[in-house]
Structures are given as C-alpha cells and as structure tokens.
Amino acid sequence: MNSIDPRVNRLPKVGQPGVIKPKAPLDQFGTFEVFVQPREGKPFQHEGIVHAPNLEMAWVLAKEAFTRRFTCTSLYVADTRNIFVSPMTEGNQNAYDLIPEVADKEGMQESYEIYHLAKRGKQHVHAGTVHASGHHDAMATARKEFKGKLVLNVWSLRTGDIRFTTPDEKDLWQTLPEKKFRDASEYKGGDRLKELIERLNPS
C-alpha cells in the first residue's frame, strides 16, 4: 500500500509461506549524548540523547530536541560509545573509591572532560578537564583532583571526541527568550475556564 504517511509504509509486509529467516537488526541510527550550557558561566550538563547518522547531524538535531525552550547559551554532543562510565554507587559511598588510584600512563597525553553525578535521578554535570593518556588514567587523575567530593558516578569523555558549538553558532539561541509560546506556563487559561464553568453552571 502506498501512502504519504510514513507509518503506513513501515507496517510489516505479509510474507511467503514456509520462509524462515534470521531476525533483521533494527534499521535505526546510533545514539549521541547531548550536553547543554543553560547560562553563560554555568557548567555544561547532560540533557539526554539523540539518534543520528553522524556526529554533525547529532549536533543539528540536539539543538531543537533539547534547546528549543527556556534559555541556552551553548551545547555539545559526543557519540555514546565515547563516554566511559565508572561504577555507580548510592548513599554515602563515593564512586571515586571504586576507581583504581593509578592507571597505566602509557600513550599520548590528551585532554578529557570529567562529569559527576551528585544525586541519583539528577544529571551528570561537567566537573572539570584533566590531562591523561586514556579513560582509565583520566578517571584516576580525576580521583586525585576531586578528592573528598562525594559523587555517585563519574563519566569521562575525550575532548577531541566532542562536536562543540562554534563561537559563530552562538547566535542560534538569540531569539529563544522570545519563544515563550513554547512553554506551557505561557498559557494561563485557568481564570477563563473558571469563568466559563461559572457561566454554564449558575448556582
């Protein structure tokens, strides 16, 4: 059946009798992690994921998926597979205590971004940048750097794997504060609804 509605075309087709074949993998894009800076001077925080065919497309799609409301000064994205995750803890146990103190130093020194989860259910927030030879080394270095800080989970991301917003692209969010019509808070129908109900049901 031909339809302009893509959902109709995605319906499974009726097959041939007697044909048994391996299940086909899902034809879908990989995931990319999105980090947003809500205000100038604030740290970047993890907002969620987007599906995209590549890093550049992920940046483009993340812009509307995560920053079409409220305020935003910048965002960046990275392939999910490039984020390394420490063991998760809870209560008063520090995730840094579960990270080995020293790691293999072999290899080129590069910069890595470190993110902390301070509370379950919250977002990972950018904590700082370290220089290290790999993800394990980055976590070990961060352990020394952020000693004494209680965190439940640590992420590391090689700076070179990030698609940043260029200074030239910063004006993309310029008119965002004027788009209040995208917030539910902009629609205050409460009073008018009350008035209508009273008019319809005079007591």
Binding site: I4, H51, E56, M57, K63, A65, R68, L172, T175
Partner: protein
C-alpha cells in the same frame, strides 16, 4: 527617528515585497507543520516542526509590520484572503509528498530566504533592516539543518541519492519561481530597499552549487530549467485553496473569537 511609526518612501513597493515574503513563510510553515507527528524520526520531527513554527512566527512579524503600514491585521491577512490574494510562489504550496521532496524544498527555499534576509539587513527601511537581523539569526539554523541533511543523504546510499536527485529535478523549476520579477524591482533598488530578484537568484545558484558539489547529486545546467512563475501575481496551483481552507477552518468558525 521614531521607528514605531517609520514609513518607507515607496509604500506600495515595500508592501508588495513584504506580502510575498510573509505569504511564502506562512504557506510553507503550514505545509511543513503537516509533518508534525509523522517525521521520519522523533528528533527530525521535532526539529522540522520547530522550524515550521519559526516560519509562522516570522510571517506574523511581517504581517504585523504590514499592519503598521495600513494593511489589515495579521489574522485577516492570514485567514480571510482567497488564494488569488496570496503572493507566495507556487513552490511553497506544493504538497509534501515524500520526505525527500520536503528536504529538497527546505534546502532550496531556506537557502534563498537566508540570502534574502541577509540582503534586507542593509535595507533603507530601518524597521525591516532590524527585523531582518533577527530573522537571519533564526534562519542560520534552518540552513545548517538543511545543508547537513543534504550533504549526508546526498552521499549516503543509492536509495537516498536517487530519491534526492529526482526530487531535486522536480523541484528546480518551481524553485526558480521564488525569484519571479516584481513590478517594483527598479523602485526597490533605487530606494535602497532591496537589490533585486536577479541578484538574489545569482547568489542562490552559487550557494546551491556549493552545497550540491559536496554530494553525489547533480544540478542540470541552469539555462535548461524554466521557472514556474505566477504565484507572485496571485495565479496559483490547485493546491493552495485546499491548504487555505484547512488552515483557516477553526478561525472561520468564529472570526470574532478571542484566542
């Protein structure tokens, strides 16, 4: 100078220009919003819908400017006029078809619109120059979005390339209709309002070539493409009136209702 009440020297010429831009934006904004909830993937659905909303917002800003120049208010301009009163090009009223056509139209149209507003930032009619700076910022995302998709899908798979190629060939004559010559070309240029459709078209062709060159798509020679015009004079395809009927359906139930 009090910008609120600023009036351009040649009001008729400016009105004609503003109507065609606002109508293009309103009609394509409505068309593109037909994809809402049906986009090829959630993220793209959101992005495309969001840009459609930007277009309608920009048309509202221009209809509001027209109102200050003595024209009817935006709701009247958008919902009451008949098809032959609209000045949009035929390109924007064509049905969406498949997503490849919508993407190609988005690419061709927004490339032209971004260049148009870039030219209008230097417009001698100050309120329009200021509005253009703002709109240019929003359009930067629209062209980035379009260019990235075209570059990606224009070199991805056999299917994506052949789909875009056939949409591109279908769209080109209509796309050239965006640059239909206005009866006020000379006045607009002489008064420093707008340099003209010819210059815009040249810039658009150059920019289009620049992006298409980075893909496996092919552009035919420009002189072999004949523009489909008429929209700017109110001569539209059979697709516009049904769109207008649907767009204004709720408004017409009670034009005096307060929203």
């Amino acid at each position: 100078m009090n910008l609120e009440n600023a009036v351009p020297m040649n009001v008729a010429a400016v009105k004609e220009m503003l109507y065609k831009i606002a109508d293009d934006q309103l009609i394509l904004g409505h068309r593109n919003s037909e994809w809402t909830g049906m986009g090829p993937l959630l993220e793209e659905d959101i992005a495309f819908s969001s840009m459609a909303q930007d277009k309608i917002g920009q048309s509202l800003a221009i209809y509001t400017m027209l109102e200050k120049l003595g024209e009817p208010p935006p709701d009247t301009a958008a919902f009451i006029r008949k098809a032959n009163g609209f000045r949009n090009c035929i390109f924007v009223e064509l049905p969406n078809g498949e997503y490849d056509f919508s993407l190609i139209r988005h690419f061709m149209y927004d490339t032209a619109l971004a260049l148009r507003f870039d030219m209008l930032t230097r417009c001698s009619f100050q309120p329009l120059a200021e509005l253009s700076v703002k709109i240019r910022g929003e359009l930067k995302y629209h062209t980035l979005h379009a260019n990235t998709w075209i570059k990606q899908l224009g070199s991805a798979t056999e299917e994506s390339i052949s789909r875009l190629q056939s949409s591109l060939e279908y769209a080109l004559p209509y796309a050239l209709g965006m640059f239909e010559i206005s009866p006020f070309e000379n006045e607009l240029a002489a008064e420093g309002i707008f340099q003209g459709e010819k210059i815009l078209q040249e810039r658009w062709q150059q920019k289009t070539e620049e992006i298409i060159k980075q893909t496996q798509l092919n552009l035919p020679a420009w002189n072999t493409v004949e523009a489909v015009t008429g929209g700017r004079a109110g001569n539209h395809s059979e697709y516009l009136q049904p769109l207008l009927d649907e767009m204004s359906e709720v408004f017409r139930i009670d034009p005096s209702a307060e929203w």
